[in-house]
Symmetry: none
Subunit: 211 residues, 4 copies
DNA sequence: CATGAATGAGACTTCATTCAT
DNA sequence: GATGAATGAAGTCTCATTCAT
């Protein structure tokens, strides 16, 4: 009588994280409504009923995914933002290069998809992301631009729009990778995009003498 | 055509278009899975059963929405692309300004949302859009960049990435308007964004002498 | 190709009553929690989904059962109560005999069972019955007793307790029939019970001279 | 017995009784189907799993409740019944007064509720109660009535129906307290009910000369 | 013995689809 | 053609029961 595998194992502490990880995958792939709890449970390696030991409803799991996926990154985001110093001309290439390095190995794609796809069905989700992550970033970048303008490094212009200009192409790269690459589109080289964008946009933003 | 044609006689032929219009709204708001045929029927002003006189399944309606929303615009897109001529430095501001004018009154936001949200559930959808709309645009823009580079107007760099750089901020604006403005974020001024982006990016792209 | 039975038939107006009737049966037999919508649907001759065309939730159906079972009888009850006149000694035998005739062919048993069984889980139910049906009856009977006492027909005593004394044995009969007869207990002869109870209790209640 | 017996050592033997007590509460409040084992375990102060050390299934616990709640009272009931002697006119007030004293502090309400509510779902329950408790009582009372009739104390009439007449109002009082008092109805004074009922019904039952 | 995390069958509920009218 | 009542498969959620600890 070979000792069989136990049918299950107690993992009280590890479960929530496993469930959230599985749920992020499924919600990102399918969207909230099309996601099946069966699938989440299967990927988390638990039974359907076990989900309800840790979360009360499907929506609850969704909120957990949203919050737990942002929150730990918020510190990073703020640290990065606060850590900016030095000449604007040096900053932009560094930051974009960092993004280019981080993006491909982070769940940025799935997260963006979730936010975009479910913003109407879950407005709190959009508000949370806006307030906690996006707006701080935009304001930080805008502040750096404004400071650089004050120092005479950067030419006149709306700092917030400059933030859009800096980030937009990277966002487009993320969506491209998420949406079109899986159906055969040519992949984006984030490193190259970051380098070229830093170089060209910066050249256009800096005061001519400063270049 | 001038007389005797009672209005409601046209309904029969108009129905599919009305259904598709209603469906675009609902799919864009809710996503495919969360969209209810009841709701689509209600907004189209028909009974639920009537949908099945024109379409076989919910997915069918979705495909109709996707196709009929792209197809008529494809001609425009191609015309715009083919119509590009003149100096690159003149072209960019014009094109971005046009986009800025068109975007706010087009269903660009909903469409982007649908594509992003349902790309995994309906890969054909992503492929269709890529092949028919996005890739042609990117290639056209890339071609114009390459031509400008050949003429010595634009500095060296990957033309496709330049396309990303040009379009990215506008895309970001669209998503911002779609996702964050409804929950209280400050709106984007597309005109200003287009103007500033054209100016700065162009300044960075053009050969220094050409500026 | 024989023309088969249609799979179903439209019965929009008749459905709610049929559902409520089926539900009364099932709720009375099983109690709220143990009642299965499957069973209710089957007995009402509809699909499970059809229940939701007419009622929003299981609880909704339960409320409909409760209300629609009382309400139509309330008029009768009040009419009977208001119609009481004449000497108390004539009234009691008549009323009890009427009850004895009505009870066996009414859903009195199931209703009592439902109220008793679910009073804790659905306090509104108990309150509704108390306020709308039981209390009015008790007060009416109490009032008749008090009037008879004032006329010197009935001896002193709490009129409300007299109401309990009059009704109690009939209630016990109802519960006996509901609970014990199905498992083999000897049935109750309501007519005989009513007759004997009217006779004996009345004899005890009336003033000695009046007898 | 006096010393060294640590309190908690007794727990092991006390457990089944504690579980049954908790279960009686919960089953009486909710009914069998709506009762949660979680709740029973909580009120008994044990874990859910522990229930299964003493009972095999939920139904098992229910049976234990039913049996252990009746059985110990059966002796009392029989003792009371067998102890009846003397004149019928003296007996009735005594017995009813005893009931009035015992009822309020016994779980009579919950038990009646359980029996009424679950009689269809658990016919054995109804049969058990009928055979072991109710029928003996009815027969004893009926026997006493018959004996009194034989002695010429009580007028003619079906002895079993007399038993219904005697007990019915008290039963109605129990149900009133159980069902309507919690939702605001005026409470029943069992003492007064017993006194008045004994007096009036007896007056009606006794042979005129005997009064 | 005791716990309580984990299971899985089964309940209520939703909604795309069908079809009598 | 058009309607909307009706269906039934499938999804979320509950909870008696089991079993690793």
């Amino acid at each position: 009588m070979l000792k069989g595998e136990p049918r299950w194992r107690r993992r009280k502490e590890a479960r929530p994280a496993e469930i959230v990880a599985a749920a992020l995958e499924v919600f990102a792939e399918k969207g909230f409504a099309a996601a099946r709890l069966d699938e989440i449970a299967r990927r988390a390696g638990v039974s359907k009923g076990a989900l309800y030991l840790y979360y009360e409803t499907k929506e609850d799991i969704f909120h957990a995914v949203v919050t737990q996926t942002v929150t730990p990154r918020l510190a990073q985001v703020r640290a990065m933002a606060d850590g900016f110093s030095g000449r604007f001309a040096d900053l932009v290439p560094t930051v974009l290069a960092t993004l280019a390095r981080v993006i491909p190995e982070s769940p940025a794609g799935p997260i963006v998809k979730m936010i975009v796809g479910e913003s109407r069905n879950f407005p709190q989700l959009a508000r949370y992301w806006h307030d906690e992550a996006i707006l701080p970033m935009v304001e930080t970048v805008g502040g750096l631009v404004a400071a650089a303008q004050a120092r005479g490094e950067v030419r006149a212009g709306d700092p917030r729009l400059f933030a859009f200009q800096l980030a937009g192409p990277m966002l487009m790269g993320v969506l491209w990778r998420e949406v079109f690459t899986p159906v055969g589109a040519e992949p984006v080289d984030f490193q190259a995009l970051a380098r070229q964008h830093a170089e060209t946009l910066l050249a256009g933003m800096l005061m001519e003498k400063a270049a």
